[in-house]
């Protein structure tokens, strides 16, 4: 296991395990801080892009469309290297917005970290 650091407090923990990166995000994400989340996620994947970026969103009660755009941009960059993004522990408001954007079919949602590695 390899702990990873980013420049943002919005990513409270991150680690690499094999070809996967697990990251935990904290707080509401809107236009005021989605650029900060974007920087943090790109920092995580830029040096050695993972095959799976697993984002734990249990502590994210709210996201707006700018936050969804950050997830989409990160996913697109992962896909260039054959990677994917898996979301963990979605709160209802976040899940609902992904459904409205019809992105619930694009982002696999896992029930726990073990399940995330099978998605």
């Amino acid at each position: 296991m390899n702990e990873l650091k980013t420049s943002t407090d919005m990513i409270t923990a991150a680690r690499r395990e094999g070809d996967a990166i697990f990251a935990t995000v904290l707080g509401e994400v809107d236009l005021s801080n989605s650029p900060e989340l974007r920087v943090g996620l790109l920092e995580l994947i830029q040096i050695k892009p993972p095959k799976r970026l697993i984002l734990n969103l249990a502590a994210v009660p709210y996201m707006d469309s700018s936050a969804i755009a950050v997830l989409v941009e990160t996913l697109k960059k992962l896909r260039v290297g054959g990677g994917k993004m898996v979301l963990l522990s979605l709160q209802p408001r976040v899940k609902g917005l992904l459904e409205i954007a019809r992105l619930d079919s694009i982002f696999p949602v896992a029930k726990d970290e073990v399940d995330a590695l099978t998605k």
């Binding site: 509401e28 809107d30 236009l31 005021s32 709210y62 707006d64 469309s65 700018s66 969804i68 755009a69 989409v72 941009e73 996913l75 697109k76 408001r93 609902g96 917005l97 409205i100 954007a101 019809r102 992105l103 079919s105 694009i106």
Partner: protein, 143 residues
Amino acid sequence: MSIGNSTTSPGLELKITSDPASLQQVRHALERFCADHGFDDSECDEIGLCFNEAVANIIRHAYDGAKDKPIDVQTRVAGDGLTLVIRDWGNGELPPSRPKPKLDLLEPGGLGLICLQQMMDEVRYDPQDKGMLLTLVKRKRKP
């Protein structure tokens, strides 16, 4: 605009600037206001998100990212409906009347407008001499 025919409650009137840092605090105040006026959790969430998306669109498009421009927000409840009026003094450009369905779901943009159309009962843009007046109406769901 009238909503129903019963008593109008005192509204919420806010003058904010186009700084994204103000979004969360104002959204929370609006969601509390809605809860205090009998909207359920889901309706409060939807109103809060639509407020967020409407103001974010003003900041990004009408004010081109400037953080010091005025935005007035007026909210009133009458009968079973909430009316949210958002005034800006930006470029006054109308958004697309109906976002085009995306062929590529990963294509960016348009989600805010989709939220307004799906979650609010009325969405009306009234261009002003300078800027735009956006009126959003949300009615309580029937039990």
